[in-house]
């Protein structure tokens, strides 16, 4: 209870009288004044609502009302925020300028490369990126809606006698516009980084934008029909085409396919086809979706809205792991039921075996890992072999995270880990076994890329290439372990003042770079040309810490216990220092 409510909540009781307070002579008790009885409230007639003729509701008036509520409750305007956060704004502008500069430089460097591998990458990587963007658009649209409503809107608005379409159509247009902008930026970026000409960058950006917008419209249209299989099928088809494009990059770079000329000749037509098809879908499917917005079930609208709210909460704390947890939980709920499998072994072996069973049960967790095998080859083909450990390590990090589901659950709350009769280090090591084996397979598969397969020139010996691939694998695996096990921001501790960013809980900024820091630490020595043993030693230290061998809580507890025993011994021996009170002024 707050102090205020403590003060005002309960009626103040008169203090008990002490004998000293009592009067010496009895005094006649005051005669209580008669309290007049309150007059009964007049009985109001019961209003029977079904006899009332409802007036037509204006949806636009409702929208205006909602907007006024939101604006009326805002305590700060956007301009105030920008003024307060000018450091953040400046930092964003500076980082943005640096990124643009890096992209322009990389585009210049890569476009100068004329080897067969570079040509095939320049031709095919935008295809793969485009397909990736489109598949991602479909996936996100399916998971969220794409049309959503918050729980409050679902309860207060969607059940009212209104035409939902008039409330929802603006959202659909916004979502499609957002998809177009984001996809165009990404498509253009990949085209620039793979060395396309600036006109090519614009063409790929337009294709990605219109394609993503069109597919969002299709997903919305399917949402109105309460179906998901069409979007799922499209997502897989587009993903397979993207994978084929990536594999072709490797095949051409390795010399398994003659050259990329046949693809290059089709380049212009392909992006044009995607642009036109996207535009047609955007208009056609978008129009159908707008016309049928009323038919979207309230539960489906609100489901997407709750997911958005959960993701916003996780994003507010910059906790990407929590965002992934929400998606995994949602996926599991959608699946609902599995055919139970029998366990095997006892002790830690049972944990490892069950982790392997989970992977067999959900093999789609391996897709990203399989896709990431192509990355070192593609990076090498682009002539950026020196950067391969860093880039491939970062990609491997994201690919290994889905395999660390067991470790994630065992480290996010202590309850389940406490149920197992093992130390934290034992549990984490057991949970690392299956992902480590998968990473080892990845290392074997990418070693030829470090040998220079497909680039036409090899600057590493067989042993060095194996070690470089191994260090990259270690970096990705340990980065993923760090990403999964890092503690979220602690809101119980005092906030820290972060200049123009305002107050933040400890650990929030660290959350942004968790995992990336380990990959950088392990792979940068190789990038700088130092001995790879430095990388191996750093990886060893990271492993030691990440597996929980150095539990800071236990160390602090041991230190406290030692201090307590020392104080006790001093007291017993009469050697404890006499505390001198501070001088009184």
């Amino acid at each position: 209870m707050s102090k205020k409510s403590r003060r005002s909540g309960a009626p103040r009781q008169p203090a008990a009288a002490t004998p000293a307070d009592l009067p010496a002579t009895p005094v006649a008790a005051p005669v209580p004044e008669p309290v007049p009885e309150p007059e009964p409230e007049p009985v109001r007639p019961i209003r029977v609502l079904h006899e009332v003729t409802p007036e037509p509701v204006s949806e636009s008036a409702l929208r205006t009302l909602m907007r006024d509520w939101r604006r009326g409750r805002a305590t700060r305007h956007l301009w105030d925020m920008i003024q307060d956060g000018y450091v953040a704004v400046l930092a964003t502008v500076m980082i943005g300028a640096m990124l643009v500069s890096v992209v322009i430089r990389a585009q210049g460097a890569v476009s100068a490369c004329t080897s067969e591998g570079c040509l095939s990458s320049r031709t095919l990587l935008p295809w793969a990126a485009l397909c990736g963007v489109l598949a991602l658009t479909l996936m996100v649209s399916r998971i969220f809606g794409p049309v959503v409503a918050s729980a409050a809107e679902g309860f207060w608005l969607m059940e009212a006698p209104i035409k939902r379409a008039r409330i929802l159509w603006g959202r659909l247009i916004s979502v499609m516009a957002g998809a177009i902008v984001v996809a165009a930026l990404f498509g253009g970026l990949v085209a620039a980084l793979s060395g396309s000409t600036w006109s090519g960058v614009v063409r790929w950006a337009v294709a990605a934008g219109l394609g993503a917008g069109g597919l969002t419209a299709v997903a919305a249209e399917e949402q109105t029909a309460d179906r998901t299989w069409v979007v799922r099928t499209l997502q897989w088809l587009v993903g397979v085409v993207g994978l084929a494009a990536l594999m072709t990059v490797v095949a051409v770079a390795a010399g398994w396919l003659p050259n990329a000329g046949v693809f290059a000749s089709n380049e212009n037509r392909f992006d044009l086809v995607v642009s036109v098809a996207g535009a047609v879908l955007l208009v056609g499917a978008g129009a159908v979706a707008v016309l049928r917005l009323d038919e979207i079930r309230r539960a489906r609208l609100v489901s997407g809205g709750s997911l958005v709210a959960g993701m916003q909460g996780a994003m507010y704390a910059l906790d990407m792991s929590l965002m992934r947890d929400i998606l995994v939980e949602r996926d599991a709920i959608a699946r609902g039921h599995v055919r139970p499998t029998k366990g095997h072994g006892t002790g830690l072996a049972a944990l490892v075996y069950r982790d392997a069973q989970r992977l067999v049960r959900f093999p789609k967790q391996l897709i990203l890992l399989l896709l990431s095998i192509v990355v070192p080859y593609a990076v090498g083909a682009l002539g950026l072999g020196a950067l391969s450990p860093v880039i491939s390590g970062l990609v491997l990090l994201t690919a290994v995270v889905p395999l660390l589901g067991m470790m994630r659950v065992l480290s996010r709350t202590g309850g389940l880990a406490r149920a197992f009769p093992f130390s934290t280090a034992q549990v984490r090591t057991a949970a690392m076994v299956v992902p480590a084996i998968a990473t080892l397979v990845w290392v074997v598969a990418v070693t030829p890329a470090f040998l220079g397969l497909g680039t036409g020139s090899s600057h590493l010996s067989g042993a060095d290439a194996t070690i470089h691939a191994g260090v990259t694998g270690l970096a990705g695996l340990l980065g993923a372990v760090r990403w999964v096990t890092a503690k979220p921001p602690d809101y119980n501790k005092p906030m820290m003042q972060m200049g123009g960013f305002g107050a933040m809980p400890p650990g929030m900024i660290g959350n942004l770079i968790k995992g990336i820091d380990i990959v950088a630490l392990v792979t940068l020595p190789i990038l700088f040309g130092w001995s790879y043993w430095i990388s191996v030693i750093i990886a060893g230290i990271a492993f030691f810490i990440l597996r929980g061998s150095m539990n800071m809580n236990d160390l602090a507890a041991a230190q406290e216990e030692q201090k307590r025993q020392l104080d006790q011994a001093k007291t017993e021996a009469g050697l404890a220092k006499k505390k001198i009170p501070p001088p009184r002024r």
Binding site: G343, G345, F420
Partner: protein
């Protein structure tokens, strides 16, 4: 029953505060094999805080806690082997079914007849029909039954439960009372916080009113 020389749980002068607000001050307790201690008291009195300190989920500000003679360290395998807990921080693997959770725990604890033990517990908590379900799809009552099952499917010397009757139906509370009484009579030590008088009366050998 003849008492052992070492108590299963020994708490001396436990104290815990959140900021400047003291929740628990100088709380001491000894629990021997066959004892069942119930913590009762109003909401916010500090029952759950005491239990969270006892299992190592929260760090006490002062005092000592020993489980079977070992100083409490949450990640100590010996402590984890002896201590079964059902408090509010229990989590489940989203992609393992009900029966697989229990099987994994039984095997991890090295039970020689894991499958039999799992079957028995599944029947007891009435989750046979849900054995293939993933935890996210269980109702809140079923999740509570699964949480209790995770404590019953494994060997233990001390059982710590925070309001175990929560979300259970009337039959469920009756079953739980019988089960905990049987556990106590078999020599298990129990510490639980509860607001359910029938459960406390049936199970507890000692009741401590926290915050009184």
């Amino acid at each position: 029953m003849a008492k052992q020389r070492t108590p299963v749980l020994k708490v001396s002068k436990l104290s815990k505060a959140y900021g400047s607000h003291a929740i628990v001050t100088d709380f001491s307790l000894e629990v021997w094999a066959g004892d069942a201690v119930a913590l009762t008291g109003r909401n916010g009195a500090g029952k759950s805080t005491i239990l969270r300190c006892l299992v190592g989920a929260d760090k006490a500000d002062g005092g000592t806690i020993e489980v079977c003679g070992n100083k409490l360290r949450e990640s100590d395998p010996a402590i984890r082997r002896d201590l079964a807990t059902v408090i509010d921080d229990l989590d489940f693997f989203p992609d393992l079914s009900v029966v697989e959770h229990l099987d994994l725990l039984a095997r991890a604890h090295g039970l020689p007849d894991a499958e039999e033990a799992v079957d028995d517990v599944l029947h007891e908590v009435q989750l046979v029909a849900q054995s293939g379900q993933l935890p996210g799809t269980l109702s809140s009552g079923q999740r509570r039954r699964l949480a209790l099952a995770t404590a019953f499917v494994r060997p233990r010397k001390l059982l710590i439960l925070d309001e175990p009757e929560q979300r259970l139906d009337v039959e469920g509370v009756e079953w739980l009372a019988k089960r905990l009484k049987a556990e106590r009579e078999a020599g298990l030590a129990i510490v639980m916080a509860s607001h359910e008088p029938t459960l406390v009366d049936a199970v507890a050998t000692k009741t401590i009113r926290v915050g009184a």
